[in-house]
Symmetry: C2
Subunit: 547 residues, 2 copies
């Protein structure tokens, strides 16, 4: 019976393969694999071996080629050292590893916001709401908020919600966006996500059709963008941020980059902007943002606005504007497809491990939003705890509510501390010989430029590594401090950087800065000192120093 069924499938297949697929197309047919009418006629595909036992040579090369330096080789070395220290297996000139490679505040002692954790605890265990002593343990507004959420989210934390997120959550997020920007926001444009990363994956999947599709990405960038571009088979079109101009953008440069990309045969689908920047921390000026929106409209690009650091701004003369707001100011909301990302991981909330965030999608045709919803539905839904925390972040206690004072105090303490540590670190870096560091206007990082002795550059080359990798490795081995080489983010040709967070606690950061300074002097001395006059660009014949 089975064999007869399959023969029938085979014989009926031929005329159905060419039928086009609609949005809700005829379901998968057994036959499809039997004909290769969908395979390219290129002889090189289809002539491959019929067996490919699992080995490093038979896995997807895009996976192999993807790199994510924030948890790359230096970090893996650090993990080994940390294990050795814990198990007493080896001795190092330090007693603990200091994780400055990743924006993960709560692992370095930053406390969560009490109000959020209290509401979430009650959502976890709604039975507590009817406990006779509940009001001795939780403030009234916490109880009220939890009751509202438990009632409004069918099945609570334990049930799959709508794939874009529970309606109440999206409504709360939309309401907050509208309040922030002064323009309406529609819950139907909100897709909750497990952190901001899934949103980037969706956009890569949606927009990259073939190897010549590409996206414009700032250099330096957060390497999620380069990693996912590689993974999804697209190309990266860089646009360099100008270190000498506070990491500012130059629209003329954008135009040149896109022209060169197109002349090479690339189709540029989107532009990524990270604002405030990562690793650079700069806040774009309002004018720059207008320029970018105008550029995206002219060039018909999707704008992907990574705004996860919007709550981390430390300088009085800068203010966060969302790209959504500026697009509305310019009357361009319907003309520029815009994806705005936010997350609970950063700001002063720092709930990295919870994985929460959202993307707001505007200027997209509704049939494409349907496709985004479908992508989200394949993974069912984002986790409810992250959804709730995101809604709480966007709708915190208000003046007059029981938790307001504590919330305000906690927020203020964290942001004030971040600002102090940012300034301390950046000024300390600027005092080091051959090191310059732009101010961290926002985000959680410093991205100092380090002038390295030519001997060090050559030593790295001998190892087949980037010079800043060598610097970071030796820093780790001398001090236990873990930072990420600038080559992992991209940088102007011939320059070297590293990214460090300024998240070590205020108690620790003085010692971290001291250790870093001592190491730096020793490193420079080890490699023969800095020449009085450096060549404008340190070059290597094989292009090692690009960026």
């Amino acid at each position: 019976m089975l064999r007869r069924t399959l023969r029938k499938i085979g014989s009926e297949s031929r005329n159905s393969c060419s039928r086009s697929r609609s949005l809700v197309a005829a379901p998968l047919r057994a036959n499809r694999w039997m004909t290769n009418s969908e395979a390219p006629s290129n002889g090189s595909i289809g002539a491959g071996p019929r067996r490919a036992p699992l080995s490093i040579d038979t896995i997807n090369k895009r996976v192999i080629n993807s790199e994510y330096a924030v948890r790359g080789e230096i970090v893996q070395l650090a993990q080994k050292i940390a294990r050795d220290l814990e198990e007493g297996k080896a001795s190092y000139p330090f007693d603990k590893v200091v994780w400055c490679n990743i924006g993960n505040p709560q692992i370095l002692g930053q406390k969560p916001i009490t109000y959020f954790r209290q509401v979430l605890a009650l959502c976890e265990c709604p039975q507590l709401l009817s406990h006779p002593h509940i009001r001795e343990v939780f403030p009234e507004d916490v109880i009220a908020r939890a009751e509202l959420l438990v009632k409004a989210i069918p099945g609570g934390l334990g049930a799959y919600s709508d794939s874009a997120g529970a309606l109440i959550i999206r409504q709360l997020v939309a309401k907050s966006i509208a309040k922030r920007d002064g323009y309406p926001a529609d819950a139907e444009n909100i897709y909750m996500t497990d952190g901001a990363s899934p949103a980037v994956h969706y956009m890569m999947d949606l927009l990259l059709r073939e190897p010549n599709d590409s996206m414009m990405v700032p250099i330096p960038q957060y390497p999620l963008y380069s990693a996912t571009l590689t993974l999804y088979g697209g190309r990266l079109v860089p646009y360099l941020l100008d270190e000498g101009a506070g990491w500012g953008l130059d629209v003329a440069h954008l135009r040149q980059q896109i022209a060169t990309a197109r002349a090479s045969g690339l189709c540029v689908r989107a532009m990524v902007v990270i604002n405030p920047g990562n690793p650079t921390g700069q806040c774009l000026s309002y004018q720059n943002m207008r320029d970018i929106l105008g550029f995206c409209r002219e060039e018909q690009l999707v704008l992907i606005a990574d705004e996860v650091y919007q709550a981390n701004i430390y300088v009085g003369n800068k203010e966060f504007f969302s790209f959504k707001k500026v697009a509305c100011d310019m009357g361009l909301l319907e003309d520029v497809p815009l994806v705005s990302l936010h997350s609970i991981s950063k700001g002063f909330v720092g709930e990295c491990g919870r994985r929460g965030g959202y993307m707001e999608v505007t200027g997209f045709p509704s049939e494409i939003k349907d496709q985004i919803l479908k992508l989200a539905s394949i993974n069912l839904c984002p986790n409810l705890s992250g959804q709730i925390c995101c809604a709480l972040m966007m709708n915190p206690p208000q003046v007059g509510e029981a938790s307001y004072e504590q919330y305000r105090a906690e927020k203020s303490a964290i942001l004030g501390s971040l600002k102090r540590r940012a300034e301390l670190l950046v000024s300390a870096l600027n005092r080091l010989d051959g090191v310059t560091c732009n101010a961290a206007e926002g985000a959680l990082y410093a991205f100092p430029k380090v002038t390295l002795p030519e001997t060090a550059v050559q030593a790295a080359k001998q190892l087949g590594k980037q010079p800043d990798w060598l610097y970071c490795k030796e820093l780790l081995e001398a001090t236990g401090i873990v930072v990420v080489p600038g080559s992992g983010f991209g940088q102007a040709d011939g320059t070297f950087h590293f990214r460090t967070t300024f998240l070590p606690s205020e108690e620790d950061i003085g010692r971290v800065v001291q250790a870093l300074g001592d190491f730096h002097s020793a490193f420079i001395q080890k490699y023969g000192g800095l020449q009085k006059k450096q060549p404008a660009l340190a070059t290597a014949a094989n292009g090692d120093n690009e960026y």
Copy 2:
């Protein structure tokens, strides 16, 4: 300065493009996009338009072609109806929608396990641990477990953990696996995941290199497999489960399918097995499992074992064996690359919205495990709440502990109720005219086969839809019951099915069954009744009825 930098990048680029990429390769270079040495020389790629403004025609066709029926068109219609009912906008012959399309127990009234929620609430808000009245609210073992987890997980719920999951969590999971199987399990082989779905995505990404790569997938299957195969550009090689033999497997059929696939030019990378089955609910026999492992070894396939329903087994004569255990019994653990998936969403735990689970990876070369870790690191880490819940699920209260009795009672009540509802539903379905339904030995679903009048088949064809889609749509409109057409899962040519959960509460399920039966009779009558003798295969010229 920028322009000079880029010119330099361009001129230095040519000789670096050909350098091979190692695991920690030289970082992304600005130049890479400038040359298209990596683009195929096929004229059709690279000659496309340089602009592609966002529209339904310019997005990735794989996204358009991906389908996930569990939240497909029928479900979207149901959502619209539910909104209409809530807003009083339209009237229907029923007052509520009954969601039988998805295994989402807590939305239909199943209670979470108290112990898990109590521990998680304390992990959410560790401040509670020092509250003077804590012991009036939480049992001693809950407090102890939370204290252990808070201490052992650096940064708690709010910090990114290791990308494979926090060490303590992986150790707890490994310990439990070893206890279940009687063979050791290594924490280094465990990768925590946000539900089981991300594990499937990783495997698709890892193993599908080009359009002729494929995986063997059971028909009927859980459509995550067909959706992700399409999304990642691979092919599905079906193997039919035999409905007449309790959805059993036939190894001869597997051999035939793989031979035909290879003869068509496909390279088969892996075999997916869902055990207990979804939508079919069957538990594979131990012998079948031995056959499958032997087959995978002979044919050098990765075995992907979706075991998320391992705690849902309702028949006394069947027992769950993990593929890991059987592989160990056969001495094949190092010879068959095996990925075993589990999740907190199913069983009696039902924590769908939390997104937790793991994959255990055995028989993989370590350099490939490194690549899996890298893929996980790009998304940073799975959510901590899901990680903790998974560890709790695998390490529940033990005899003698304060929470044991309540835990045992809750577990027993849920499983007993699931079993009763499974039996009630399946026997009711079997009483319907022209409907047969295999017993639900496990999982959460019934997958009845429905004989449809030829008139109905033709009516569906007129609409460009599958006949079982039509049945499901009319069921929804008549009763508010939401089920998923069998065509969404795949089925033998000429047969029609639908998948329904048996999750409506024991109070509701009687009425659901009644409404379903009334609808069925009306539907058959509406379309002219069943012929006394059905043709062996209902065919349509264009192959609509494949599967």
